[in-house]
């Protein structure tokens, strides 16, 4: 699953640590998601969508 997390974070000038705190996860988790090495669960994906005030499908894209 591809995502626009890095772009959206950069637009808001947030560090990975700042975003991690907003999402209540570790900085490494944010890094893993941004690098496409970890796909978040649905609850975390919803939290990400809420934090960026965008629908999930605007952030995550099915790689298939």
């Amino acid at each position: 699953v591809k995502n626009r997390l890095r772009v959206l974070r950069a637009e808001r000038e947030w560090s990975q640590q700042e975003l991690a705190e907003r999402l209540r996860v570790s900085r490494q988790t944010v890094n893993s998601i941004e690098n496409g090495r970890y796909d978040p669960t649905l609850p975390l994906a919803f939290r990400i969508a809420r934090v960026f005030e965008q629908p999930i499908e605007a952030i995550f894209e099915d790689g298939a």
Binding site: V25, Q28, T29, R37
Partner: protein
């Protein structure tokens, strides 16, 4: 609110705690095995045989504390490490027991715990690399 921090994902302090507890357990098992074999008629024999259970409880508490406060990526990493440790230990110990049937090696049951711990640590390492 408990926010996982930089250290919350890897938690090396917890890993060290688990390893110390496991080493303590192994040391105690060795000591008690020596005591039991050298004092076969001691009335403390049964108590000595059961004593490692208390230390095993310490190991379990240390391992459980590692689960608390983890975020979902860390939980997944640890679950995969446990699955890896279980399967790898099974294969290793089955191989070892077959070799012991052929009298190539001698199977020591006290090996099971450290083998599982080693594979678990290896599994954590694989997880850290995979989800880096």
């Amino acid at each position: 609110m408990n926010v996982p921090t930089e250290s919350a994902s890897i938690r090396p302090r917890v890993l060290i705690k688990v390893l110390i507890a496991a080493a303590l357990f192994m040391g105690m098992v060795q000591l008690l095995a020596w005591f039991i074999s050298n004092h076969p008629n001691s009335r403390w024999r049964l108590a000595a045989a059961a004593a490692p259970i208390a230390v095993a409880g310490l190991c379990a508490a240390a391992a459980w504390s590692s689960v608390e406060g983890m975020d979902e990526r860390a939980v997944r990493m640890h679950l995969e490490a446990l699955a890896f440790a279980f399967i790898a230990s099974l294969v290793f110990l089955m191989t070892y027991s077959f070799l012991s049937l052929a009298e190539v090696v001698t199977l020591h049951f006290e090996l099971i715990t450290p083998v599982m711990v080693v594979f678990w640590v290896l599994g954590i390492g694989i997880g850290l690399w995979r989800y880096r």
